[in-house]
Amino acid sequence: MSDKYKVELLDIKKAFGGVQALKNGKIQVKPGEIHGLVGENGAGKSTLIKVLSGAHHHDEGRIILDGEDINIQSPKDSIEKGIAVIYQEFMLAPHLTVAENIFIDHLTQNKGIINWRNLAKSAHELLDTLGFGNISPMTLVSDIPVAHQQVVEICKALSRKARVLVLDEPTAVLTFAEIEKLSLLINQLKNDGVSIIYISHRLEEIFNLCDRITIMKDGEYVDTVITKEINKEGLISKMIGRSMTEMFPKRDSKTGEVVFEAKNICAGKMVNNVSFNLRSGEVLGFAGLVGAGRTETMRAIFGADVMENGEIIYFGQKTRFRSPKQAVKKGFGLLPEDRKRQGVLLEQSIRVNTTLAAIFKGKNKLGIFDARKEKAYVKDVLAQLNTKFNSTEDNASSLSGGNQQKVALSKWLAADCKVIVLDEPTRGVDVGAKVEIYKNINDLAAKGVAIIMISSEMPELIGMCDRVMVMRFGKVVGELGKDQITESNLIALEMGVA
């Protein structure tokens, strides 16, 4: 049975700390097949691929190549076995030439000296077979367009004799014409017998390209279907497929006055004329695919990035936050999406983390830290969020993901924020902690705090929000009222299927 598959991953389990990212990962790819891999954010697609590429080592499960069990310990093992993964962010050295990048791990055929003429020649031959003979092997990678960089990545994989090629969201950064060209290329590789795993959020592409599709949800394998035998609606229902559980605590939302208004916000390429308003006590969701510009919009408003254009009306006054400092001073807080890199100081105490934005709260009249006063205050704030911790003096790194997130949130509570942006507040926390965080959000809203919640999890948006703005390619493409927030409405707007 298994000998007809080129590569198989079976019963893959992988946990990060306490979080089970993969419960039952499975994918079986035939030779010369384009195999789609779909699922919501956090479904475990990337983790599964990273197990195959050797970036992560699985806790349990089998990897089978050509019918034989193989052991992949590192990316090197994976490459040597002819498996190549092309990630969303390219792994190219921008200051080296195209040729050098293609042959990066075997630049010298002999004697440790680079023969530039041969190198350029082999690079050109390789590029030519893919129909990209016009890319000069001796230009720097930083000087060629993104689409060509992707071709270079594919050449790099082929130069290593890759027979299994994984493309993770390959079209996220490409224009329409470039996508067409990439499709041709992928089909050509398929005809040469290469097995291709194609991950994408864009269902049109999946349907155009793939022979079969594997669906994942919540770290588990759902199904593998033949593309011809399913339609978009069928695929979407398999991707969602969950019943709404008792995840979301009930809340009587009492929204008040409009406290915040953004008009025509522009920032960089990712934010284009975004407008919305927000009422006190409201939870306003921001939906969209990764890269839709939601985080960028909020960062621009918060002053963390430059806001090129647009207007903010904050409590009836025209305002502009030129730095996070100004925003925080006026009671506008932002909980960043990347908790470990932007949210908490892992190697500092819980106490320091909690009073970071409201440092004066821990001080006595002389402006000197009063340990007893500060500890009492910190305990009080953390108790409001039901945070579980041992001592206020422990490092934040000693806490679980959910409690770290609460500590990160606590600093805005301590700073008496009136508007708080939560960027993916429950990413990477387990289900129990999620429910706790939802409760915290509801409590804040009940106190009249206006909340913006960026989320890529649909049940969360449906269960929590009074209203949802949907963004796509840096623009607001829709606004859904409480009764209109459904998974099919969200997906349709996010993917532009409607």
Binding site: F302, A304, S323, P324, K325, Q326, A327, V328, K329, G333, L334, P336, R341, Q342, G343, V344, L345, L346, E347, Q348, V352, L356, A357, I359, F360, K363, G367, I368, F369, K379, A383, N386, K388, F389, N390, D394, S397, S398, L399, S400, N403, K411, A415
Partner: protein
């Protein structure tokens, strides 16, 4: 509501060793020194050690601040020279009053440090590069001002700081127990206490640690990170200026070659004291211990008449051992 999520860590012997490795190393070294040489454990020798390292300690405290933010200041040696040379230049060459000369010299070192800080914080230059440039410029500046040669300080100007006696002993007592000249020691103690207080009890200290731990998170918490980053280099310059003057009280000259290579000793002292070059980790008291670990090594080998090249080999080895011990203790967490 508080739930114990982790059992209280048991302090096993190994963990004790790892946690207090800086202090243990110092105590061990001290005992070894006392056993190896009878001269070592005398008031005279210990007093000398303290006096010699008063200036160094000022410089190391500045370096520590910078390292805590995740930066590095290679210009400290040159700025120490600036403190010393400009004092002598103003007081001797320009014949200004000594107090004014001292203040101006410290001011110049502070301004030089501030320039480095502005390059790092506002021009986003890598600290290594900005301070490397300042190190070169600073050295050039003092050599230029001093015309390449040491400048004598005026007689009876500031050397009293290093020779001031509380108890005027007889010459015989001075021979046996050494003179009790505590002012430099008092300076040393004062700066460590001030630093300890600032780091523990003020927002500035806390934010310095915060920036070293996670600069992005601190910025997103609405704090002006750039101002703090600039000020650590400024304070480093200020402390180096003072260090240069303290050094001049002992040598009685403004020496333009003073402090060459000191930046590396300063980094070594911080690192032995458990500071992480990535920032966010290290304390003033431990850095002080780091200063004296290095000083003890030098001192005992001088007493035993070990030539200077092997001294450096041993010094390097001690740094490696200290850091190895610390990385082991991190892994343990």
């Amino acid at each position: 509501m508080e739930k114990v999520i982790e059992k209280k860590e048991k302090l096993t012997f190994v963990k004790f060793l790892l946690k207090y490795n800086t202090y243990i190393m110092f105590v061990l070294l001290f005992i070894i020194c006392a056993m190896l040489s009878t001269e070592f454990f005398s008031w005279k020798n210990i007093g000398n050690l303290i006096r010699q390292n008063a200036g160094t300690t000022f410089m190391v405290m500045g370096m520590l601040l910078v390292i805590l933010t995740g930066g590095i200041d290679l210009s400290v040696g040159s700025l120490v020279a600036a403190g010393s040379v400009f004092t002598a230049y103003f007081a001797t060459t320009l014949e200004l009053p000594i107090l004014l000369s001292v203040v101006l010299a410290v001011l110049i070192a502070t301004v030089l440090g501030t320039i480095t800080g502005m390059l790092v914080a506002y021009a986003k230059m890598a600290p290594f590069v900005a301070s490397l440039a300042m190190m070169t410029m600073g050295r050039g500046l003092v050599l230029f001002v001093a015309n390449g040669a040491p400048i004598m300080l005026p007689e009876n100007s500031i050397e009293w700081i290093s020779t001031y006696k509380i108890i005027a002993g007889t010459p015989e007592q001075a021979q046996t127990i050494g003179e009790v000249t505590p002012l430099l020691g008092a300076f040393l103690a004062a700066i460590v206490v001030i630093m300890w207080f600032v780091m523990k009890y003020t927002s500035f200290g806390r934010l310095v640690y915060g920036i070293g731990s996670n600069e992005t998170a601190v910025r997103l918490a609405g704090i002006n990170v750039r101002r703090i980053k600039m000020s650590v280099y400024m304070i480093s310059g200020l402390l180096c200026g003072i260090a240069g003057i303290l050094s001049a009280t002992r040598s009685k000259v403004g020496a333009p070659v003073l402090g060459e290579g000191w930046e590396l000793d300063a980094i070594a002292a911080c690192v032995i004291g458990g500071a992480s070059l990535a920032g966010g980790k290290g304390t003033p008291v431990k850095a002080l211990v780091g200063v004296f670990v290095l000083a003890l090594i030098g001192n005992i080998m001088n007493l035993l008449a070990v030539p200077s090249y092997p001294q450096d080999i041993i010094k390097g080895a001690i740094i490696i051992i200290a850091v190895l011990l610390q990385t082991t203790s991190f892994r343990d967490e």
